[in-house]
Amino acid sequence: MKTGPSGRVYTEAIVHSPPEQFAADAPYQLAIVDLDTGGRMTVRVLGKEQEDRVRIGDQVVFVEDKDGVAYYRKQ
């Protein structure tokens, strides 16, 4: 699956108990995004503050790809 420039949040969750390799990132928000270019993808939501969090239906835009993880933020 390729990242797209923008999409809409299909669902989301905030991970408090991470796998070993992402221990430093927690808590982090994951979202499954319906990309405007088509297809659905599991991504990270950038930011840790309450105002950074996304909800179902929110529009998000692509920020960067870091170590193979696609980051999006609320539009």
């Binding site: 969750a13 991470p18 994951l30 599991t42 179902i56």
Partner: protein
């Protein structure tokens, strides 16, 4: 001049756009479970994987009144022995220690449905006429690893090239499922907590359960978040444990015991592994099709089930399974549980053992453990948690976020 051969038209049942050929049942032998055996589920620092599996198998053989030397094949469900304890080649490793004598010993891995898959394949081997006495078991030894490491190993049941790379854990995948179910159907945190309260109450009555602690709705609501919206009270336990069953052709069952259970149906199905590859994550197509196949094989419907063990790896999974298996309409699983319809004295008692939430979830053992728990109910041996009507029971064992499902329907002798 060609000759015309009349081929009898097979009886078909439509299930989810797929076809079940019921005629296959006329060629396959009916099968019965004649023995069940379980270890307690829990954290056992002084026990290794092999000793747990051997204990469960020995209990099952003794319950069936048969000796290890008469067993003709062994199927062992295990998810991640190599990662959890550094041991591979597990089926002969356990089999030889049990006293099996040169027979085929095979491990099956289908994530948390490994035990169900071991049973499905064991059943096939007896139903097909290959063997007359077979053991299906499951085992997992998880507690020797730290929680972050266990979380990482379990995440391997998802798609590690996609969701896993983004940081999805299993609690996170089911949290995303719960969030969507809440959005589409209005399911609430209270309704999920009610599932946890009910399973804890049942587990407190089960001497083999990992957690024998009654909790209140307030406690369940105030749990530490694991993956929002799920808290620690929505998540099953990290456990050590093993379970085993002995199966034979139905016509031979009474030779061994009067306490057998007939296997009316068993169906294993599959779906895509990645959650983001599914169109609607509020239902599991593999659960729906396994349920429909099993009901068609058994010639019954959900209204005929007296007691069920469903795969509550997370509270939302029990809610969705109760919908996918037809116990309640789509989207209504939350209110159904909150109203007490799934309690021991409810309309359809679900997880009288305490479920994965309270009984514990040694993942490879779970599918076989569910069978043991339902057979106990069918025999009327479930003690304090015995359901009033106990002629027909169902188990549903789920792998990953719905990529494998095994549904079994059992009937009391």
């Amino acid at each position: 001049m060609g000759c015309i051969i009349a081929i009898p038209k097979p009886r078909h049942a439509e299930t989810c756009g797929r076809i079940v050929n019921l005629d296959i049942l006329t060629y396959m032998r009916p099968v019965a479970i004649i023995g069940i055996g379980k270890t307690a589920f829990g954290a056992f620092p002084d026990r290794d994987l092999r000793s747990l599996a051997v204990e469960a198998v020995e209990h099952a053989l003794s319950d069936a009144n048969v000796s290890a030397a008469t067993v003709q094949a062994f199927y062992l469900g295990n998810f991640a022995g190599p990662a959890f304890v550094g041991q591979n080649h597990l089926a002969p490793y356990v089999g030889a220690a049990t006293g099996f004598d040169g027979i085929p010993c095979t491990r099956l891995e289908d994530a948390c449905a490994s035990g169900g898959s071991a049973f499905f394949h064991a059943w096939m081997s007896v139903a097909a006429g290959m063997y007359d006495l077979v053991v299906a078991a499951g085992v997992e030894k998880m507690t020797s690893q730290s929680t972050p490491r266990v979380t990482e190993i379990l995440a391997g049941a998802g798609d590690m090239a996609g969701e896993g790379r983004a940081g999805a854990t299993f609690p996170a995948l089911f949290a995303m499922i719960a969030r969507r179910h809440m959005y589409q159907y209005g399911t609430t945190r209270e309704q999920l907590a009610a599932v946890s309260v009910k399973n804890h109450a049942n587990g407190a009555k089960n001497p083999l359960a990992h957690m024998r602690k009654v909790i209140t709705l307030e406690q369940a609501m105030a749990g530490k978040p694991i993956a929002e919206p799920l808290t620690v009270y929505d998540c099953s336990l990290i456990s050590d444990g093993a379970a085993a069953v002995v199966i034979v052709p139905l016509e031979q069952a009474a030779r061994h015991t009067s306490r057998y259970a007939r296997v009316k149906a068993v169906a294993q199905t599959s779906d895509r592994v990645a959650l983001d590859s599914k169109s609607d994550i509020t239902e599991f197509p593999a659960v729906k099709s396994a349920g429909q196949k099993a009901y068609a094989m058994a010639g019954i419907g959900p209204e005929n089930i007296d007691v069920a063990e469903l795969h509550d790896c997370f509270t939302i999974a029990e809610v969705i399974a109760s919908e996918d298996l037809g116990f309640v309409a789509k989207g209504q699983g939350g209110p159904f549980a909150a109203a007490g319809c799934t309690a021991i004295n409810g309309r359809i008692p679900i997880n009288t053992s305490g479920g994965l939430k309270a009984k514990g979830h040694p993942v490879g053992a779970t599918g076989v453990g569910q069978l043991c728990d339902v057979v106990l109910q069918l025999r009327g041996d479930a003690g304090e948690r015995q359901v009033p009507r106990h002629r027909i029971g169902l188990t549903q064992n789920l792998g990953g976020s719905g990529a494998t499902c095994v549904v079994t329907i059992l009937e009391a002798a």
